[in-house]
Structure formats: structure tokens, C-alpha cells
């Protein structure tokens, strides 16, 4: 059944409404909105909608804002990116080399190198935006070249980070992340801190730091059943990321970068501490000029996105 004209007009005119589903059998119509506040307002304004004489209950779903997995210029954090031979991950953000001040793309080793194919690849490898899975191609979508990475070591050796940087060959917005804004330097994550990320797959999500000293086995390096051990990692209390969100930076409520997301299980997400990333890659993330009172965009729990996707 088509969406009625009046509702389609509402989608076009109300910036907080991000999507509307076709009416479903249970006499419900889902309206996707940016925030919890928008959900309450939509429900107050239109608890029901009549279509062809039939009444449908409105079910607002907080989705955050949807973005196309497409070419984005200037480059900002939170968008699809990848080594030209992998699938796709997330561009964490544009940072600077500590010594030369050269702008750099920050993401994971496994996003900017070819490690998922069994070898880490070579310095100078093409980096494309969007990532190849999202249509990125050489040469038209090349945005930089792999510049350096922290090699992933297998047991008995251990790792601190899954991180790499690439040069930037197109326009960019430094320290800027979709849905979050300009970040404000780096900070230390503590148990109980609320954290946010914006990633290529799930957009803006939030969770809470539940562990700041974890040593974990992470599977998938070099081959699907090979694991690497990472020490001194952050764990969030709920899934903050899904496949393709790797490389997202994790920020706290003061917009300080506290982590670099790279792994997860069915229940938790894992991030490298940003202090290790900065030190091992020799980069800097300076304090930014924050507009006071500017909120991080309304957040949706990843679990609600997952349940929505499953129910579709």
C-alpha cells in the first residue's frame, strides 16, 4: 500500500522525520525520527493515521539521521572508506602528523591495509572513499595512500592498537565527525562514562564504558579463525558498532576522543585507547573550538536499530 500524500509531504517538510515505512499488517505505520524528543512529539501530533478509511497506529522509531554510503567531499569522520582491496570500514577522522603536521586519515589497520586478505599490504596502497563494498573504485575515488600502520602481531605476542593512517589527497574537514561535530582533543575513558560513535554502518550510537583494562582475543586477522590478543582495551556495555563501523572514533560527552573502535561480539564493542593510537602512530588530536551548548545529535541505541532491521 502506498504512503499517502499528506504523510509523504510531512517527510519532506519535517527535518526530524528521517523515514516512513509502508503500512504493515498489524495496522501500524512506522515513522523514523532523529531523536527521542522527536518520537514523543510525533506520537503526540499524530497517534494514528487514516489511510483509505483504515486507522493505523503510528510507531515512531528513533533511527538517527540516515546518510548515503556514497562519495563524500570534503572528507569528514564517520564515512565509508577502505583499502582498495578490502570491503569497507569507517574513516575515524582527519588528524595531523605530530612532527610534519601533514593531514592524515585515521582508521584501523584492517580498514586501510589488506590484512583481511592475509597480508598487510604495502605503504602507498590506494585508499578509496567510499570503500570498495560501497562502490569506491581506483582511480576515481582514491582519496589518499596508506602511509603507516601498527602491524598486527599474532600470539604469543600481543597488541595495543589496530590502527593506521593514510595521506589525504582531496578536500577534508579536520577533526570533524558526522553526527558529533568537531572533537575536543583526547580524554581518558573511565568505567561508567557515556560514549558515542558515528560509523559507516550504524551511524550515531551510544553506550557506556564497562571495562577499561581488558585483554581480549579478536578473531579475523589474516584469516577468519586466526586471533590476535589486544591488551589494555576498552569494552562498552552494549554493542556500539557492527561490521563496517571499524575505524570509528569513540568520544565522551565532552567530545574528547577516548578510543578507536575495531571489534565486537554479540554483546559488546571493543576500542583501542586513543592514547596508545596517538603515541604509536605519532599523530596529534588537538583541542578544538567547541560551540558551547551545541549538543551531540540525538542518540539511538544500536539494539533498537538491530531489532528494527530484524523485524523488516
Amino acid at each position: 500500500m502506498p504512503i499517502p500524500k499528506e504523510l509523504r509531504k510531512k517527510l519532506e517538510e519535517d527535518p526530524s522525520i528521517t523515514g516512513i515505512s509502508d503500512p504493515v499488517e498489524e495496522r501500524k505505520i512506522r515513522i523514523y525520527v532523529e531523536s527521542e524528543e522527536d518520537a514523543k512529539r510525533v506520537l503526540m501530533e499524530m497517534p494514528e493515521i487514516k489511510i483509505a478509511g483504515v486507522s493505523y497506529k503510528v510507531e515512531p522509531i528513533v533511527s538517527g539521521r540516515f546518510y548515503a554510503l556514497s562519495r563524500v567531499r570534503p572528507l569528514v569522520g564517520g564515512i565509508s572508506v577502505g583499502n582498495y582491496r578490502i570491503t569497507a570500514g569507517t574513516l575515524g577522522m582527519i588528524v595531523r602528523d605530530k612532527k610534519t603536521k601533514q593531514p592524515l586519515i585515521l582508521s584501523n589497520n584492517h580498514v586501510l591495509t589488506q590484512i583481511m586478505l592475509g597480508v598487510e599490504g604495502e605503504i602507498g596502497d590506494y585508499v578509496v572513499q567510499p570503500g570498495p563494498y560501497d562502490g569506491g573504485k581506483v582511480p576515481e575515488d582514491v582519496v589518499g595512500r596508506l602511509l603507516r600502520f601498527v602491524s598486527i602481531k599474532l600470539p604469543p605476542e600481543t597488541n595495543l592498537v589496530d590502527a593506521a593512517v593514510a595521506s589525504v589527497e582531496v578536500d577534508f574537514k579536520e577533526l570533524e565527525v558526522r553526527g558529533i561535530g568537531r572533537v575536543n582533543g583526547i580524554g581518558v575513558a573511565k568505567e561508567g562514562d557515556k560514549v558515542y560513535k558515528f560509523g559507516r554502518t550504524t551511524g550515531l550510537t551510544s553506550s557506556t564504558i564497562m571495562d577499561q583494562f581488558a585483554t581480549i582475543k579478536v578473531y579475523g586477522y589474516y584469516s577468519p579463525d586466526t586471533y590476535a590478543i589486544f591488551e589494555d582495551q576498552l569494552i562498552t556495555s552494549t554493542p556500539l558498532m557492527l561490521g563496517g563501523d571499524s575505524g570509528s572514533i569513540i568520544v565522551n560527552e565532552r567530545r574528547e576522543v577516548v578510543g578507536l573502535g575495531f571489534a565486537g561480539s554479540d554483546r559488546f564493542s571493543c576500542a583501542n585507547k586513543i592514547q596508545h593510537v596517538v603515541e604509536l602512530l605519532d599523530i596529534e588530536i588537538p583541542k578544538g573550538a567547541i560551540v558551547m551548548g551545541e549538543p551531540i545529535l540525538a542518540i539511538t541505541a544500536l539494539s533498537s536499530i538491530i531489532s528494527t532491521l530484524i523485524s523488516k
Binding site: D211, F213, A214, T215, I216, G220, A263, S265, F268
Partner: protein
């Protein structure tokens, strides 16, 4: 009495030895073990209680 760091080092040995153990951590008063099942995980390590958190294995995303 062993220290929590000594207990953590012992937990690292369990992490390497047991495929169902996918992570370890600690608080001042206990060892935390992330595992896909409780099989073979001791209830104490060097006198410190073990809290088991069940999870699937961690994978790159």
C-alpha cells in the same frame, strides 16, 4: 596473599589455554573473565573471586 596483578597474570595463562575464554580483566577485588561458556573456568584465581561474563567471541568489524 597474592596481588591482583599476580592473579591477572594467571588469568592470562587461562586466556591462552582455553578456547572458550575470549577476554580477561580485573577490578581491585576480582578477576573478570569474558567467555563463550563457563567450562573449565575456576571460581577463584590465587584467592581472588572470578566474575564470568558470557559473550560471543570478539571479531573485527
Amino acid at each position: 596473599m597474592a596481588t591482583i596483578i599476580e592473579a591477572l597474570n594467571e588469568a592470562k595463562r587461562i586466556l591462552s589455554a582455553r578456547p572458550n575464554v575470549v577476554g580477561i580483566s580485573y577490578r581491585a577485588d576480582r578477576i573478570i573473565v569474558y567467555a563463550t561458556s563457563t567450562e573449565g573456568i575456576p571460581t577463584t584465581i590465587l584467592g581472588f573471586p572470578v566474575e564470568i561474563i558470557i559473550t560471543g567471541r570478539f571479531e573485527v568489524l
